[in-house]
Amino acid sequence: MKKTINIFSTILLVLIVSGISVIDCEAAFHLFDNKLRVKGSIYEFMMYRTKVKDDEKQYRDTDWGLMRTKGTLEFLYKAVEKENLQVNLFSFLQYWHEALPDFDDEYHDSITRDNRKRFQGPSYDQDDWINEMYADIYSGKWNIRLGKQIVFWSEVEMVRTIDRINPLDLRYTTPGIEPWDEMKIGLWMMRGFYNSDLPGQLVFEWIWIPGDYEGVRTPREGSSMGAVPGPQGKEDLRPRAFGLGAAVNEQWRKSQPAFTLSNSQFAFRIRGNSEVALLGDYYLLDWTVSWYHGMNNTPVAKSSKIETINQYNFNLAIARVFGGDIPRVPGGLWEYKFFDVIGTSCQTYVPKLGAVVRGEVSYEIGLPELKADPDSSVAPYMRNITGTTERDVINVGVTLDKPLKSNWLSQRWGASGVFDCTFGWFGQRRQGNVSRIRRTFAYDDRDQSNFTLTVRTRLKHNSIWPTVRFLYNTRNWGYGVFAVRYTPGKHMRYEMGYLWFFSNNQWHFREAYARNKDSIYFRIGYEF
């Protein structure tokens, strides 16, 4: 942590000293004869929980859910600017501190020490403070990017289907509140593009991730977006950190794959832009076809360690309920397995609808899964693991972007008068027998079907941005976000919103589990 702070201090000092030659500070600093561009931001993000239930209140002194201060710095240095060769060096650095555990003692004690340390700052991995850092090289039709990067392959919003390269950090909030580029976890990779002159303006893209693996970071047990530590122990032992959730996280962490070439992940994509005439209208299709070979972002139990895992989890539960020492977490219990995803996406404007239609489909081949006894009387997420298997999964997402215009509104309150509406449907189908699959969420579900709606408009000449986002799953869970962003001038940014979660069964999906996490949130920031 100190090391990271020192690096940031050094960077800031360099900026201040070189500020003598600052040309323009309206939006970004341009230094060294415009060769270096520096931009950044600092934000305070606070969430206040409005529906904390009694069983959770005992783990909290306050109803605050998050108090995170985050600073980012982006550097873009034009290292080579020749006619046939351009090299840009880009880095996006970040630092944050989540302060809530510092003044809420009960909250502090609900999260394990290690998890708390990793949760409060960019210290889950030693390079967490680097969101991106790469050399971007252009020569003729070739473009090579070397370094830590974030890849965006998706066309649709809110739900990811083919966009699988970078895992997400979901510990602090849900997608839609924070920008994707700050929720995705960067990976060290080599990424190349070849811009061909073939019909359809084909662009060939490939990615090689030589062993840098990151799992998805789910909400930490004991934290505001996570579960309370469970099973709950005796009252005089509450709060007591390290429940089953923390144990599983720690087991996974200790089993994380090594940074070796044998753990390389690969991806390939072709992007094209083709014109089709149909029924008297032109359709310009932006399409992609992709393949991804990588590790699943959650592991499966090693066959030889299944008994150890079951026994450990049982011992931990006994220790928590009846008192006793928390057993030490053994390593090497889980393994991260490879699987493949074939995907395709397309977007086009459809004149007859006056709307842009986007769609994507992915077919996951051999997705690693855990097995459990389907006849057990225990809830599926509690069942003993009996083995591992693989399943294929189909994901589909379709959205329709339709601007709705109000001439009446366009002449009032500096409004744009346009409501940008996005209607979406996302489906998932799991192939094969699902009753034997052990999952924490959606354990017996073969199909998932989500409907989404996003409506945005702008008031006061784009200084006020009201947004509503809504996701409804046909199993009667979902969430809504009501937000207003205010950008009065060049630098200050304000945002306020309400997060509403609902579900009739919290085990239906990860987001369904958040059913009592309703919050008001505030975000105040300075961009430069």
Binding site: E26, A27, A28, K39, S41, E74, L76, Q86, N88, F90, F92, D136, Y138, N143, I150, F152, E155, P179, W180, D181, N195, Q201, V203, R271, N273, E275, Y282, L284, D286, Q347, T348, Y349, G354, A355, V356, R358, D401, K402, P403, K405, N407, S410, Q411, G414, S416, G417, V418, D420, R458, K460, H461, N462, S463, T487, P488, G489, K490, R493, E527, F528
Partner: protein, 416 residues
């Protein structure tokens, strides 16, 4: 055989005779009118026009400008003023003149009011127009040097509160057809333009901070029934998003300008009807030194416009869509280049809603020539007391811009 040769020769001679009737460039004033203008200028040259003396030149000031000068508080200013400068005819490029003389004699509109041969001709098609639609085609045919690259510094101003938001963007614009200066003329080869692109722009934002590297690509096609294609790469979301072209009446980044307003009128002419309303001798900024522009914080209207007398062609424009955001527009077109010097827009209740003024200057362009191109502008909203100003730092005019820049793949290149 002999008869055929005679017929061909007759047609050729007839065309040549007709061609010889084309007068271009067309001066803004004939000799007698110019004498009167010069006489008037003797009293007003280099004079600063303010609220105190604007009534003396009221006949040559548009109602919108007059209102702003008389009541500057509406636009967040203590004083709004401009300077009178002498009328100066433009020096048009050799290619512009030659293309007009070559193609204008045979120009005519089909039954759908489309210019015959559109995409294969260049120059001003109707140097001596008779109808509103011919004037509109003249306006549409000015390619402003065929290509240009500029850096725009824009300010969105809430004149009531004084709040300002600024933006900066690099913009590259290319005409694929109707070209008269930069080879190939009059159009990019069809083999390199299989989709029939008429015009395209590529724009990358450099401010505000949260929109840095957000990039826009818009393509306008030759086919008048085909809407523009618009893609936006939003750096914040790292995605290339296709936009619906029926969002064209949406305001651009909170300014008072809608997408259709760009450069006066950005999309196809076929969407409107055009009614010629006569001539209007009004002051307009045709030779603007952008360094002389100034405004106070919170002011949505430039001070320091250098206006000269111009005898504009006035065209009333109504959209064929009855629900269009403007009930009508009045275009004020320059008699020499057919550039739009300014326009006013009326809301659906018939009230004067907005005014868009473009200030031009003759800038170095292809082959050491000059091309009039606008280097600053303001668009003001009379009803909501709001204004948007911008200065355009023109980097180049009439240069080769690689066609590959106008592909969607370019949106993400070198953007972070």
């Amino acid at each position: 055989m002999r008869r055929t040769i005679v017929s061909v020769l007759s047609i050729f001679l007839a065309v040549q005779c007709f061609a010889s009737e084309v007068t271009f460039p067309v001066p803004g004033y004939d000799a007698e009118e110019l004498q009167k203008v010069r006489l008037w200028e003797k009293s007003w040259n280099n004079k600063k026009i303010t609220a105190e003396n604007v009534d003396q030149v009221k006949d040559f000031v548009h109602e919108g400008v007059y209102t702003a000068i008389k009541d500057p508080g509406i636009f967040g200013a203590k004083e709004i003023w401009f300077e009178v400068v002498p009328y100066r005819p433009y020096t048009l490029s050799k290619g512009f003149i030659e293309a007009t003389k070559k193609y204008a004699p045979t120009s005519h509109l089909d039954e759908k009011e489309m210019l015959e041969g559109y995409g294969e001709v260049a120059g001003i098609p109707f140097p001596q127009p008779k109808t509103g639609i011919e004037m509109a085609w003249n306006f549409d045919s000015n390619t402003r040097g065929d290509s240009h690259h500029e850096i725009q510094f824009g300010t969105v101003v809430d004149c009531k509160s004084g709040f300002e938001r600024t933006s900066e963007q690099h913009r590259w614009e290319l005409y694929w057809v109707g070209r008269y200066d930069v080879s190939p003329v009059p159009a990019i080869e069809k083999s390199k333009n299989p989709r029939g692109i008429a015009r395209s722009f590529f724009q990358r934002m450099a401010a505000p901070a949260d929109f840095i590297d957000t990039t826009i690509l818009e393509i306008k096609y030759l086919d008048p029934h085909r809407g523009e294609d618009l893609w936006v790469y939003t750096a914040m979301f790292r995605r290339i998003r296709r936009y619906a072209n029926n969002q064209r009446t949406d305001s651009i980044d909170g300014t008072d300008m809608i997408y259709d307003d760009q450069d006066g009128w950005y999309t196809h002419l076929i969407h409107n009807t055009y009614d010629y309303k006569g001539r209007a001798d009004l002051l307009a900024a045709r030779h603007q030194d952008s360094g002389k522009l100034e405004k106070a914080e919170g002011q949505g209207f430039w001070n320091g416009f250098q206006r000269e007398r111009v005898n504009h062609w006035v065209v009333e424009v109504k959209n064929k869509d009855k629900n269009y955001i403007y009930s009508r527009q009045i275009w004020y077109l320059d008699p020499e280049t057919w550039q739009m010097n300014f326009k006013v827009m009326y809301n659906r209740q018939g009230q004067l809603w907005k005014m868009y003024e473009m200030a031009y200057d003759e800038l170095p362009s292809y082959g050491g020539q000059t091309t009039p191109i606008f280097n600053s502008e303001h668009i003001i909203d009379f009803l909501r007391r709001h204004g948007s100003t911008s200065v355009r730092n023109i980097q180049s005019v009439g240069t080769d811009i690689p066609l590959t820049q106008f592909r969607t793949k370019s949106l993400k290149e070198k953007s972070y």
